[in-house]
Symmetry: C2
Subunit: 316 residues, 2 copies
């Protein structure tokens, strides 16, 4: 069993990336094909199957534990059914796990991007030492996944860990989802950038403007972070506030689950350490007293290959 | 195994109540003694042991699955260690599960009041049909417990489900715990009553005052509920707002766990159905869209014996 391998499939809107990996997270073989998302589910499944067929011979006789697939859209589990993934044509409801296990006679697990990324960090990344943590994808929106006893916790219908739509202010900003005060409506990348553009009108000398060459369309949390680290007060304020608000939500989840550790991935997670410090302080303030020791806010470690690693990790 | 019995111990500050119950929740024998909380742990343990010895002979040869104990204070699990329970003298840290299992050579589980009440509802009460739900004790404060796959989910240190200190407003009322906007600081019984007294100053004709005979010290959520049901507008507003705010917190927990069902117990849970309706509407507004179907807000069913039932339920 120690030599067992697993196949991880990262199903993206443009490319299917598939890897054969071992328990230590070493990629033994990789295959890549266009997704053919503009055709239909049958075409997409065909591409997935081809990439898997390409990596299997590299196993060299070692047992393969199964196939994990990270997919966009809403995934119904148990069952591994993929519902209406964005950017995939003619795709309504597809029992993807069944389709693939019928071909390969192996255990197949399918989950959404956020859960797969959480598993990747749990098995091979920043969460390796923590059997229980909250994983957050901090990007355009705010998503996440819950690792419980080393496994993904999916909830009743696969929606667990979607923490972006937790309200941190019952009377707050109206989110697209119809709720007031969702944390995503405060700290999601789009909101952050928009709010920064607004504030720059009265702060035209901010380093943020300098860094984007005056083009406000280019503003992103990364530029704001760089400006803050170069001493820009406004930039610092914006990201410390964002971290503080994210920490309010994280604190609520820590209270609920009696957890201590949060791993943060996604595009915005590359911001400077001062933001992590702000998150940490806020979480500490927002949990019940017995939980205030041992709080950890950790940066995700896996980049582009997180999809393959996490997908494989689901069956390891 | 179908005939298996269990012993449940409800350790209160004044009385130890112990019951021998069967799988259907029928009490076969009961014993009661003063806790002797004003003496020391040895005295208290002695009383617990005596009540257990009193009920055991009534088993009539049927196997006893174990002993469950509901205790006040912070309980460390695994281990069943009871730390500094309020109102118990000279009690610092006591490995209560060990102390009792040494005497009876049985499996012993110890948990806090809120978790035990949650188990009681799960096994014998309003949660019987739901393997996964959030239990809330709505009383002076707001506490709770999480039932996951029919069992209590304790988290890393036994603190899971303590949802009263989840913030529903990052900029809100300062709670005793040091956090801004804890839901407890909005809807806990004491806060509700205090706020009502304040509002009555400009509403002297409210039915609430009539019901308490003009004595504002007597004001409680039950009187407010009665006034609302008799058509008092202010009373209705106060409790609908409280339900709505409680629903914001519940929505956040439903989002985190992908749950649908909440069972509400505690002193305030006896308020009228209109409050449950307000909670329901608020939860529905505060969860992500795929979770909006099937939301259930249910009144707890077990009263005074919940402690015994839940304690026994932990080992059944």
């Amino acid at each position: 069993m120690a030599q067992q391998l697993a196949i991880g499939v990262d199903l993206g809107g443009t490319t299917v990336k598939t890897g054969l990996i071992d328990r230590d997270g070493k990629i033994i073989a990789q295959a890549k094909l266009p997704t053919l998302a503009e055709e239909n589910p049958k075409a997409v499944i065909g591409q997935i199957v081809k990439t898997i067929q390409e990596v299997i011979p590299h196993a060299g006789g070692k047992p393969i534990a199964g196939i994990g697939i990270g997919a966009p859209g809403l995934i119904q589990n148990p069952g591994g059914i993929v519902k209406s993934p964005p950017n995939m044509k003619n795709w309504d409801i597809v029992p993807l796990a069944n389709e693939i296990s019928n071909v390969f006679q192996m255990r197949v697990e399918v989950d959404n991007d956020a859960n797969v990324a959480a598993v990747a960090e749990a098995k091979f990344g920043a969460g390796k030492d923590y059997p229980n943590f909250l994983f957050i994808i901090w990007g355009t929106g705010v998503g996440g996944g819950i690792i419980m006893n080393g496994q993904i916790y999916r909830g009743l219908t696969g929606g667990a860990g979607e923490v972006g739509h937790i309200s941190i202010n019952y009377d707050g900003l109206l989110c697209n989802c119809g709720t007031n005060g969702c944390v995503e409506a405060y700290v999601g990348q789009r909101y952050l950038s928009k709010r920064t553009i607004e504030k720059l009108k009265s702060n035209p000398s901010s380093k943020i403007l300098e860094l984007v060459g005056g083009d406000v369309e280019k503003i992103s949390p990364m530029y704001i972070s760089k400006a803050a680290e170069a001493g820009d007060v406004l930039a610092n304020e914006i990201l410390v506030e964002a971290g503080t608000l994210l920490g309010v939500m994280i604190g609520g989840v820590m209270n609920t689950l009696d957890y201590r550790v949060t791993v943060i991935g996604g595009g915005v997670s590359a911001v400077g350490d001062f933001v992590y410090k702000a998150i940490h302080q806020s979480v500490q303030k927002n949990v019940q007293k017995p939980l205030r020791d041992g709080i950890k806010i950790v940066r995700a470690q896996l980049g582009n290959d997180a999809g393959i690693f996490g997908a494989a990790g689901m069956v390891l």
